[in-house]
Every structure is written in C-alpha cells, then in structure tokens.
C-alpha cells in the first residue's frame, strides 16, 4: 500500500481514541450490511434445522400440539418398506445420475472446446434446455419417449430396436428421469467448458512439442487442471440427486394419467413406487398424511447425508480461501 492510502487507513494509524471510534463505526457498518442476511439465515435455516430435529422426536399433525415419542419415528423407519424403497431410489440417482451427469457434461464440454467454428451456436443449443422449468422438461421427454408413437421409438425402430415403455415401466422410469436430467445438464457443461478454456495454453503447446496427441493431452493436461471444478460438479450433482423431486412427481403423475396431479398421493411413485424418491416420500408423509414428526425424522436423515456431501466441498473451499488470504486481492 502507498503512503497516502496508509494515512487514511484510520484504524492502523490514528491515535487510540479515534481508532476505537472508527473501529466501532466499522463494526456497525458490517452489522448493518449483514443484519438482514443474519436474521434471514437464523429464521429460515438456523431455527428450522434445530426444529426439524426436535419435531423428529414427536408425533405431530399440525393441529394437535406435538407429542414426545422419543426415537419411535426412527425405529419405525426400519420397518417402513416404502422408506427403504425411497432410500434405494434416491441412492440409485446419487450413484447413476451423478456419474452420468459429470461424464456427460465433461464429454460435451470437451467436444465444444475443440470446435473451431460454430461454438456459439452449439454452446447455446446445449445450454438452453437447462433453463426450461423442470415440469416442462419432464413433459417434453414424456412426449419424446412415449411408447409406440414417440419420435425416439421411431428412431430406434430404424435400427430394429423396440423401445422400452420408459415412464410406464418400473425398470425404465428412473433411466427416463435420468435422460431428462442429462438434457438439462447444460449449466454444469458451461462451468466445465470455462474451466477447460482456463487451462494455460503453454501446457498444451509443450505437450504437443513432446508429440502428445489430442487424447493424451486431454488426459494428462485438461483433466488434472480442471479436477477442482469436477469435484464441484460431482458434489453439486449429488445434492441435485438427493433433492430430486419435481421430475419424479411429474413423471409419475403424467404416466399414471391421473386427473388430479397435485392433490392426490395415489400417483406418487408411479409405476410401482419406482419414482418414489426420498423427498417425494418425505413430502407425502408430511404434507399429504400430515405425519410431520415422521417427515421431520426423514428430513434429519436427508440433512445428515447432504451435509456430508457439502462438507467435502466446503473443506476444499476453506483450503483455497486460506491460500487466497495470503495472496494479494483476497
């Protein structure tokens, strides 16, 4: 810092009395800027997180006051067959969707990064679907993959393949939802594309001089350079899979042909509970059957799992921010 700046940097150079006054003014400024956020955080995250754990030890239907039942909700989970189904379905998405989403987005980004013309157009085409509302995106795929008449079936027919029943078949409903999610994965693709573009050019040039082909350059230079962003993509996808709700509900209700999509529970998880994800079952328990205590217990479980996933990311960010503190412009 230059001398002129230092002179006005009151806290460091002013006599003790002025320093403390400036300091307290600084404190009030921070407080004023942060106050709404702190209040909002406490009201909409702090309190409800604690309250969720509290409710999970009670029986509560919104009308009668909560009744303490100890660990009953948690022991009930072990006997609840649909809890296991829902946990399995969400685990399926965490494993399959996370893997496919990262690999797919990375693949598309890598192809776009190598284009020499038409980049803007292709990038826009790949990104735009990610802006569509999840309800609309699910219905779009419902149309595209509908058995017998759908365009995908016609396409598969050219190769003599008979398409599955997708959203009407318990074995294919989750892969169908995965297709929808891949179609809207353009945001991750843009993030990865930007990371690939940030890789220092010299490293490629050096590798090219050493005679490395495009594949080896991608493997030995691109991948290691973007690995922090890949980690972010993976954590982000896990969180996305853990809270998968809209696509499952819409796919289930559209496939069941139910006339009342929003008010009923009979089409949740259709077909045969194959789309009953953890959040869907939580929603049904809490807000259709009004078993708030049990829903809170499920929410507590969901919190622990998603916290573990987030902790990985936060740990990395903390390391990065310490490095940042040491350098200029932190």
């Amino acid at each position: 810092m230059t001398a002129t700046l230092e002179r006005v940097d009151v806290p460091r150079t002013a006599p003790a009395r002025g320093r403390s006054r400036a300091r307290s003014r600084h404190r009030w400024t921070v407080l004023a800027f942060m106050a709404p956020a702190v209040l909002g955080f406490l009201l909409f995250f702090g309190y409800p997180l604690v309250a969720t754990v509290g409710f999970s030890f009670t029986e509560y239907d919104l009308i009668n006051p909560p009744e303490w039942t100890g660990f009953e909700n948690y022991t009930y989970m072990f006997g609840d067959k649909l809890f296991r189904t829902a946990a399995y379905n969400t685990l399926w998405f965490v494993v399959v969707l996370t893997g496919l989403r990262v690999v797919f987005a990375l693949g598309v980004a890598s192809v776009i990064a190598r284009l020499k013309s038409g980049v803007g157009l292709i990038r826009t085409l790949c990104y735009l679907p990610s802006l569509t509302p999840p309800v609309a995106a699910t219905l779009v795929f419902f149309l595209v993959v509908r058995p017998n008449d759908g365009p995908l079936d016609a396409f598969l027919g050219w190769f003599g393949v008979e398409g599955p029943l997708w959203f009407s078949d318990p074995a294919w409903a989750k892969p169908g939802i995965t297709l929808v999610m891949l179609w809207v994965s353009g945001d991750l693709m843009i993030i990865l594309l930007a990371a690939i573009m940030d890789v220092p050019r010299e490293q490629y040039e050096a590798a090219e001089l050493d005679g490395a082909g495009p594949v080896r350059r991608w493997w030995h230079i691109t991948l290691p350079n973007i690995s922090p962003v890949l980690l972010f993509g993976a954590v982000n996808s896990i969180i996305l899979a853990l809270q998968l709700f809209t696509q499952a509900v819409v796919a289930g209700s559209a496939a069941s042909g139910s006339a009342d999509a929003t008010g009923s529970t009979k089409d949740l998880g259709f077909p045969e509970n194959s789309t009953l994800t953890f959040p869907v079952w939580l929603y049904a328990q809490g807000f259709r059957y009004f078993d708030m205590g049990y829903a809170a217990a499920m929410a507590t479980v969901l919190f622990i799992v998603s916290f573990a996933a987030t902790a990985v990311l936060v740990q990395r960010m903390r390391k990065a921010s310490y490095q940042e503190e040491g350098g200029p412009g932190a």
Partner: protein
C-alpha cells in the same frame, strides 16, 4: 456474443494434413450431433403443439395442418393469465427482495474485513447446498400458524432477508472488483454505503444482472415451493404448478399440453436471447474453484 470464452480457446494448428482434416470433420460432426440432440426435443414439442387434436395422437412428426390457434385455445382451457400473474408476482417480488437484501451482504462478505467473515461465508455455502425439503416441516408449521399457507408469501418473503445462492454468486462477482477502487472511494471520504452504491454496484452490474436472472428463473421454475404452500388452492397456482396438472386435466389433448409447455419456456428463452453473456458469465462464477 461469444467472445467471453472464445478468446481463450487453446491454440490448435489449422488442419494441414489429412489426419488434421479427419480430426476437424470428426469433432465438428460430433458437435453438430450434440447440438441437434439438445434441440430436437423442443422441435418435436413445437410440431406437436401446432397439430390438430386427432393428429397429435399419431406417429406423425410433421403437422398436416398448422393449427396456430392452439396457442390461443389453451387460454380458454385454463385460467393461464391468472397463473401467469401468480408466477410474475412470485418471481418479480422475490427478485426485487433478493437484490435489496443480498447486495449489501455480498459486499460485506467480499470487501469488508471482519472477524468471522470466512465462517459466515461457509455458512452461506452450506445453506445454498441444503435440500429445501430438510427445513420444510418447521417452516410450513410456522407459516401455517401465521395463516399464510395457501398463498405464495411464504416463498416470497424470505428473499427480502436472505437468499444463499444469490449472496454467494454476488460475492464471487464483487470479490473480483479491484480493492483499489473501493479504497479510492474511501479516500475520497465515502462511507461504506456510498462506496457500495457509487462504486461497487455500477461495476458489478453484469454480476447483479446475472444473479437477478438466475433468481427470476429459479422462482419461475420452482415446483416444490408452490406445490407445498398452494397445492390445494388452484387460485394461487403458478404456471409451473398448473402445467403439471394441465396434462392430467386434458390428457387426451397432447397438442394443447405441449402448447402450454412451450409458452412456459418463453421467458427463459427471451431472457437468454437478451442477456446471453450475463448467463454464461454467471454460470461460470457458480463453479467454485476448490
């Protein structure tokens, strides 16, 4: 329009030999195929939306007659204008509230030095990653005792205090503004508030635009929130929520369901067309470098 990313594309030699040409053709046909793959579903939806009632049922991909009237007919089938009003109320108020509450907080997290700043920032990241279902039970309970369930207010009001994703994204933008600008404002006798309003906000305008776009689209696309609070009150439905039951209510009329599907996608496409750079830049900033 694409300058942001293009300028830094890795230098590749122009195709000089047959291997280079083959590589060029392979990469570009792959790129084209990918682009088509992403675009075709919307094209099918559009073609179905302009078909007649009876043709929409069939294997046909191309409409025999173009029924542009379908886009108007859907307004008779459902009170779409009312849903549109609800959606706009939710999205616009939430975005306005977010801007009021998140810009000062992001500034304090990016440009003011105070003890606990890093810890608070990590809490923001944690809140951003939290599935909304985790806190749904106590929040519903609270809003219900305030008599606000059945309206969109439980979704709108929190934005006037706290929105984790927006604070995070704005902070990422403001951090990149050189400290010397803020210091210069302080030298000139600006209070922190004046430094924020006169220096940081004008410089962070692209970031603020991107954050507002994402906030608008997030609320526009939201399904869980409106379902939770207004599922039983069709008068309060948003477009997203209404669309999910439109297919159910008119399940024989694929063409109309697809017309509504297209209409609900319009804002996203229009916003993107006008602010492509903000979108791309904003999305890039969400990618945390760990």
């Amino acid at each position: 329009m694409t300058a942001v990313l293009d300028a830094r594309r890795p230098a590749e030699t122009r195709p000089r030999d047959w291997k280079g040409v083959l590589d060029w053709v392979a990469v570009h046909s792959l790129g084209l195929a990918l682009g088509l793959m992403f675009a075709l579903p919307v094209l099918f939806v559009f073609l179905t939306a302009v078909m007649s009632d009876s043709q929409a049922f069939t294997k046909d991909l191309w409409p025999r007659e173009w029924h542009w009237g379908n886009f108007l007919e859907v307004f008779d089938k459902a009170p779409l204008l009312k849903y549109l009003g609800n959606s706009l109320l939710y999205s616009l108020l939430a975005t306005a509230g977010m801007l009021l509450s998140s810009i000062p907080a992001a500034y304090a997290l990016a440009k003011l030095r105070w003890r606990g700043r890093n810890a608070v920032f990590l809490l923001v990241v944690g809140a951003m990653m939290l599935p909304p279902q985790v806190v749904a039970v106590p929040l519903y309970d609270t809003w219900s005792s305030l008599g606000l369930t059945g309206t969109l207010w439980p979704l709108i009001l929190p934005y006037f205090l706290f929105d984790a994703f927006s604070i995070f994204l704005l902070r990422q933008f403001i951090v990149t503004i050189p400290q010397s600008y803020v210091d210069a404002a302080r030298v000139d006798g600006c209070t922190e508030f004046q430094a924020l309003v006169r220096v940081v906000v004008p410089m962070a305008r692209p970031g603020i635009a991107a954050t507002a776009l994402f906030c608008f689209l997030y609320t526009w696309n939201d399904y869980f929130g409106p379902l939770l609070y207004t599922g039983e009150r069709p008068d309060e439905w948003t477009l997203s929520l209404a669309l999910s039951s439109f297919k159910g209510m008119h399940h024989v009329q694929w063409n109309l369901a697809m017309a509504v599907t297209l209409l609900i996608m319009v804002p996203a496409v229009v916003l993107f067309a006008f602010a492509q750079r903000s979108f791309v830049k904003g999305i890039t900033f969400t990618g945390v470098k760990g």
